[in-house]
């Protein structure tokens, strides 16, 4: 029970430690470069990014993360005191690589389908381009805004606005049988993408303001303290009760309205992603393990209900398809089967860029949920792994920067955004490879979707802004 009373990281900050001796050695041994900076650095300079001559890649080896985290915070303090940091260049580069590669692959994957559906090969490409360009401006804009601006009141205002939008979709016309879009003239907007971001903001706000309460149980009264002191079990029960009040319920009421509206839409994939993001934030925020075990059992029960009783329409069928997509390869299993065909057709080196055959109306929506199958077919195992590794690099960088950020709100917003990208990537690839049942999750930066790319780039702007406040000298 001793962990209950721990007060997060504040108590444990040694404060005096500033990097290991080895690192110090390295720093001194390193000659200061005074030559002309490389081209890409100068290019970034022009874009308004400060090139730091002392910049070097942070040590992100697992061992360092594993063992060095406890000293990370202290490093952070030192850095904060020293100098306002620049944008994190590696993160920016990774984002731009994802956006460009994503756009190129989306173009390749979509044109055949677009031509078949709309007699216009450029249908998705031009649309995506029209959203990506303002998206990049939005990213630059958000990266210049201090993330602190999203904290507190503004977070709740955005949250209320997203709820409003989520209600508004039900007054809009249905498309493909679902209420998912808001149509304003030629523009259509998907509020669920926005809702993800606001959920991250409100949860991060709560964590940053109530970190102590989440992590430490306080007795409400002396009576309660006496009650809990009777024996270990009662103390545990009381702890759970208090912890639920401070570490579960506040999250629940912040996301439940969003989830309810999303299920009504219905938009199952977004619901799952929000659950995962908020769950991760709660987990890192310090919510007790017991709730996650409970959540696990609830999830098992839910799967059982869906599969055996068929509570959710489509649930059982989807489960059956997942178990054996080839049983009904021409019918319900079509999507999964065609996706598997495409992936296997890729082989090690792929058919070459633009040479996917499965994208010719075999893969359903090759520009969207199943774009990864097209990537596998065109770029092969090598290309697919490279793309996964770019995502991993992003996740790594995003987490590292979030961790290094001394501001807890920014830290958790960073974790939320990074984990959103990570979960979407993992789930998308898992769906496409039939590892998990089909839920319709898009692959960030790759899948076509105006709102999606716009929101993603805005979030990337926020992440870059967070990276500014993260020390890039340390770690």
């Amino acid at each position: 029970m001793d962990r209950v009373s721990k007060d997060g990281d504040t108590k444990r900050l040694p404060g005096s430690k500033a990097g290991s001796p080895i690192r110090a050695e390295q720093e001194t041994a390193r000659p200061v470069k005074k030559e002309k900076a490389p081209l890409w650095e100068r290019a970034l300079d022009k874009l308004g990014f400060e090139a730091d001559p002392d910049f070097r890649m942070p040590d992100l080896s697992p061992a360092n993360i594993w063992s060095g985290t406890k000293s990370a915070a202290s490093d952070v303090r030192t850095v904060m005191a020293s100098k306002p940091a620049a944008y994190d260049k590696p993160l920016f580069i990774i984002i731009m690589v994802l956006v460009i590669v994503g756009f190129i692959m989306m173009s390749s994957a979509s044109y055949a389908y677009a031509f078949n559906q709309y007699q216009d090969s450029m249908h998705f490409i031009s649309k995506q381009f029209l959203y990506t360009v303002p998206g990049i401006f939005l990213m630059v804009l958000f990266s210049a805004i201090s993330p602190e601006k999203f904290k507190g009141k503004s977070a709740y205002l955005l949250w209320i606005f997203s709820l409003f939008l989520l209600v508004l979709v039900f007054f809009m016309e249905k498309k493909n049988g679902v209420n998912r879009w808001i149509f304003i003239g030629p523009i259509n907007f998907q509020p669920s993408e926005f809702a993800k971001f606001t959920a991250i903001l409100v949860c991060a706000t709560y964590i940053s303001c109530h970190y102590k309460e989440i992590n430490m149980v306080t007795y409400k009264s002396q009576k309660a303290k006496r009650f809990a002191a009777k024996n270990g079990f009662l103390k545990w029960v009381y702890c759970l009760y208090r912890s639920f009040q401070t570490a579960v319920w506040p999250f629940l009421w912040r996301i439940l309205p969003i989830l309810a509206l999303l299920i009504k839409e219905p938009h199952l994939s977004c619901t799952i992603i929000i659950l995962l993001i908020v769950g991760t934030m709660m987990f890192l925020g310090g919510t007790r393990w017991e709730f996650f075990f409970m959540l696990f059992f609830v999830a098992v029960l839910a799967v059982f209900l869906i599969v055996v009783w068929g509570v959710v329409p489509y649930g059982r069928t989807r489960f059956e398809i997942w178990m054996d997509p080839f049983a009904d390869a021409k019918g319900d299993g079509w999507q999964n089967v065609q996706s598997l065909y495409a992936i296997s057709s890729g082989g090690i080196f792929g058919a070459g860029f633009g040479n996917s055959r499965q994208k010719y109306m075999y893969i359903s929506e090759p520009q969207n949920d199943f774009i990864f199958a097209v990537i596998c077919e065109e770029l092969g195992l090598v290309g697919a792994i490279v793309i996964i590794l770019i995502f991993v690099a992003f996740i790594w960088r995003g987490f590292a920067l979030s961790l290094a950020n001394p501001n807890r709100f920014q830290k958790f917003v960073g974790i939320g955004i990074t984990s959103q990208i990570g979960y979407q990537m993992i789930l998308n690839v898992a769906v496409v490879t039939n590892l998990v049942p089909n839920t319709g999750i898009s692959l960030p930066f790759f899948s076509s979707g105006g709102t999606s790319i716009l929101m993603l780039l805005a979030e990337m702007g926020v992440l870059l802004a967070i990276s500014r406040s993260s020390p890039n000298k340390v770690i």
Binding site: R3, D9, W66, G346, A430
Partner: protein, 826 residues
């Protein structure tokens, strides 16, 4: 060893313990974050591992499945080569056709029994097939059941219009009986619902009327102009054989089967040449069936059309042969098909070759032979009937001239005689005595004329077709020499003609041949030959002794017209000297002239040689009851005999008419053939006085002329004149002006307006002697035109007449009566 393992374990246990200790020291956030890292790492590793599994280790199956669904192999069928006759007339050619097949599984899955019946009914109507056939094919236990390979464009268009419709389709979610929700494809025919179709959200309106689909259905309405409304019917492009309106040389050319592969005859023999190479293009198709912009050059092959064949067969000659042979088969009730060959004696080129009754190559399974049909229809048991049909089919597809053997009988006699002449065991002025039989060893071998021919010369022996004389020649030759010439004439081996399934006859091998065998063989019994062997040997007898290789294909040309292969005259060997051959020609001409057994082949103006043959068949089991003997009547004619050009062999197997001898029934067929063939070949005619007297001349028109003047004109032409009426000008005449009539005719003319030519009934003139016919005709004031042979001797018998008995004609009309020499024992 154990130490190593121990130290290893302790080392790593220590390391792992180290991690645990470090973990314990972490603050809560960091500890939790390390958990998150582990979870994400496991997930990433899992998806990468799965990708390895799908793309490297276990991807082959999916890869193939993807390729097979994407690749569409289109076969561009090669055009089968055309078959031309020697003059370049198309006998058989290929043209586009469509293969229609059913997919029984799809049909039965898609349609209920009644619906299926309706579909089958429509399809059978379009294709002109029987409904039962289509229905039974639809129940086949296979993925594809072919209906026809030769649907023409019209049928194809009709079928397409039936299968593909203008329709609206949409996928709709429906709750099935079991409570499951399913996606169902709904189809609305455009013709049924009109044009106003609105699908909005989950609602569906047609012509403003709500169709009422569930609210949560996903509607994506598609207008498909060519929606496959009827499923389970496949149309494929192909080629098909097209024949002349009245196919000729059917048994020589053969037919192509269901798969457009040559199955009989030349189609089968030259299948590889004719077939060509089907082109294959492998195109990638998208899910909707359209083409993908990928090329599969590696696996596509070019279409190479088949080579064309030019035959030595001349369609005009073939038509002549078939006309007479077909007539002979019906006239003589031939039970076991008849064969005919016309061959160029100097080159071995077959000018015509026929088997009768023939069949329709585009409907080759239907049995056409009335004899076989009668037999089949009398069988009650279905299985036995089926078997009989199969047998009859095999029989009708045979090319009897090449595939069947028979005992040549007396037609063989020139072979023996020429051998004897060549060996010098006999001379032209040799004499023989026929007692009606000859004793060979202990056996008494009879002559056809049991009373005997008496004393006769060598030529007379052939004219009489005398067996004892030929036996004498055979015995003089001896086994060794006889066998030598027998082999030399190519009768022991197939001729090598370029036709499939050529057989070769049975014969007595030299070492086993007894004297009796030799004697019997000398007049063509107890051994068998094929008609093509026989005519080849006969050609050698008359063409100077050269045994040729018969052939039916003149050349093979590729689609660009280059000659791939051409056949030329191949002399296999010289069997007899030119001198012997000259003598044989004289002998054969004498045989075909007056007094010879082959006289029925006589044609005024032409010099024809020939030999008749009648061989007795060993009675079949079925015919033992009737005790009726079975014969093969044959005739081999050569014309012109002084400078041989063509040989004609006719073989009638089992004639059951009133007469059965080759001289009576086969020779007139050959005469008929020659009567058309020789003018076609522009053989020069030289008429004897007798011929000229009987020949037709043009009757001058004398109507509207003065009576005296008319008589003068007609008499000047050699006609007799009979005048009816007593006017001065001629008003009518029979035979009328411009027609031809024999010179000895009496022309009836009427004068004045009251004169009318009286009508008479034509009497029955068949089966009468020439004198009685002449009397009957004279009696009715009719004119007679003699055709055939034997009208100038007592042995002649009328066999045909025109106009037929009982028809009413005007007096003076020319009645054509055909005579044949009767009572021929050959």
């Amino acid at each position: 060893m154990i130490n190593v393992i121990q130290s290893f374990i302790t080392k790593y246990i220590g390391k792992i313990r180290g991690y645990f200790i470090r973990y314990k020291r972490l603050d809560r956030f960091s500890a939790r974050f390390s958990w998150l890292t582990v979870v994400i790492a496991v997930c990433v590793l899992a998806i990468i591992g799965n990708l390895f599994n799908l793309m490297v280790f276990n991807g082959e199956k999916n890869q193939q499945a993807a390729a097979s669904q994407q690749l569409k192999t289109t076969t561009i069928p090669a055009n089968r080569g055309t078959i031309y006759d020697v003059n370049g007339n198309k006998l058989v050619q290929s043209a586009a056709a469509w293969v229609v097949s059913l997919e029984p599984k799809t049909l039965n899955a898609e349609y209920s029994a009644e619906e299926l019946e309706a579909v089958c009914h429509t399809v059978s109507e379009i294709l002109g097939m029987s409904y039962e056939t289509v229905l039974s094919r639809s129940q086949y236990n296979s993925s594809i059941a072919k209906l026809t390979v030769k649907a023409d464009k019209d049928q194809k268009d009709k079928l397409m219009a039936y299968i593909y419709r203008d329709a609206y389709t949409c996928k709709v979610q429906e709750t099935g009986e079991d409570g499951k929700k399913k996606k169902v494809e709904k189809v609305f025919l455009a013709e049924e619902i009109g044009s106003k179709v609105i699908a909005r959200g989950g609602d569906f309106y047609i012509n403003g009327k709500y169709i009422g689909l569930s609210d949560d259905s996903e509607i994506e309405l598609r207008h498909e102009e060519k929606y496959q409304y009827i499923k389970g019917i496949i149309l494929q492009n192909d080629t098909n054989r097209y024949y002349r309106d009245h196919p000729i040389a059917v048994n020589v050319i053969g037919y192509t089967n269901f798969d457009n592969e040559g199955s009989q005859g030349l189609e089968s023999y030259y299948n590889e040449e004719l077939r060509g190479v089907d082109g294959k293009t492998r195109t990638a198709k998208n899910s909707v069936g359209g083409e993908m912009p990928f090329e599969y050059n590696d696996s596509s092959t070019k279409t190479i059309d088949g080579n064309s064949i030019t035959l030595t067969i001349d369609s005009k000659i073939q038509i002549i042969l078939e006309k007479y042979l077909r007539q002979a088969v019906t006239d003589n009730k031939v039970q076991n098909h008849a064969a005919g060959i016309i061959m160029n004696v100097n080159t071995g080129a077959v000018l015509a070759m026929a088997t009768m009754p023939d069949y329709d190559p585009s409907d080759y399974q239907t049995v056409t032979d009335p004899v076989a049909l009668k037999k089949i229809n009398s069988i009650q048991d279905a299985d036995a009937r089926k078997k009989a049909v199969i047998e009859a089919q095999a029989e009708q597809w045979k090319n009897k001239a090449v595939n069947d053997t028979y005992e040549p009988g007396s037609v063989f006699k020139p072979i023996t005689m020429s051998s004897a002449l060549e060996e010098g065991v006999t001379k032209l002025d040799d004499t023989f005595v026929c007692k009606g039989y000859r004793i060979v060893g202990k056996r008494r071998v009879k002559c056809a004329k049991t009373s005997g021919h008496g004393k006769e010369t060598l030529i007379q022996a052939m004219m009489n077709s005398c067996n004892p004389a030929l036996m004498e020649l055979g015995l003089r030759l001896g086994v060794k020499n006889f066998s030598k010439y027998f082999k030399s004439y190519g009768l022991t081996a197939a001729t090598g003609i370029d036709l499939p399934g050529e057989s070769s006859g049975m014969y007595h091998p030299e070492e086993e041949m007894t004297e009796l065998d030799l004697a019997i063989c000398s007049f063509g019994q107890s051994m068998t030959v094929t008609p093509i062997q026989m005519i080849t040997a006969m050609s050698a007898v008359v063409n100077g002794g050269y045994l040729l290789k018969p052939y039916v294909v003149e050349k093979i040309t590729d689609p660009n017209g280059n000659i791939v292969m051409s056949n030329q005259k191949v002399v296999r060997r010289q069997v007899i000297s030119k001198d012997t051959s000259d003598k044989m020609r004289d002998i054969l001409e004498a045989t075909a002239n007056k007094g010879g057994t082959a006289h029925n082949v006589y044609l005024p103006g032409y010099r024809i040689g020939g030999k008749t043959g009648t061989s007795e068949k060993i009675a079949k089991q079925a015919n033992t009851k009737t005790k009726r003997k079975l014969y093969v009547a044959s005739f081999c004619g050569i014309a012109p005999i002084d400078n041989p050009e063509v040989a004609v062999l006719i073989m009638l197997d089992e004639p059951q008419g009133t007469r059965h001898s080759g001289g009576s029934i086969a020779a007139p067929v050959v005469r008929g053939i020659f009567s058309e063939l020789l003018p076609y070949l522009s053989v020069e005619t030289i008429y004897s006085e007798e011929d000229l007297r009987l020949m037709d001349t043009l009757v001058p028109s004398v109507t509207d002329k003065n009576k005296e003047e008319a008589v003068q004109i007609l008499e000047k032409k050699g006609f007799n004149v009979r005048i009816i009426g007593n006017g001065d000008t001629v008003t009518a005449q029979i035979p009328s002006g411009g027609k031809t009539a024999p010179k000895s005719c009496t022309v009836v003319i009427t004068t004045g307006s009251d004169g009318e030519i009286p009508t008479v009934t034509v009497p029955d003139l068949i089966g009468l002697s020439p004198s009685r016919v002449a009397y009957a005709v004279k009696n009715k004031n009719l004119n007679i035109r003699y055709t055939g042979t034997g009208y100038d001797s007592t042995s002649g018998l009328s066999s045909k007449q025109d106009p037929p008995a009982g028809s009413i004609v005007e007096e003076g009309t020319v009645v054509t009566v055909e005579f044949t020499v009767d009572g021929i024992n050959d």
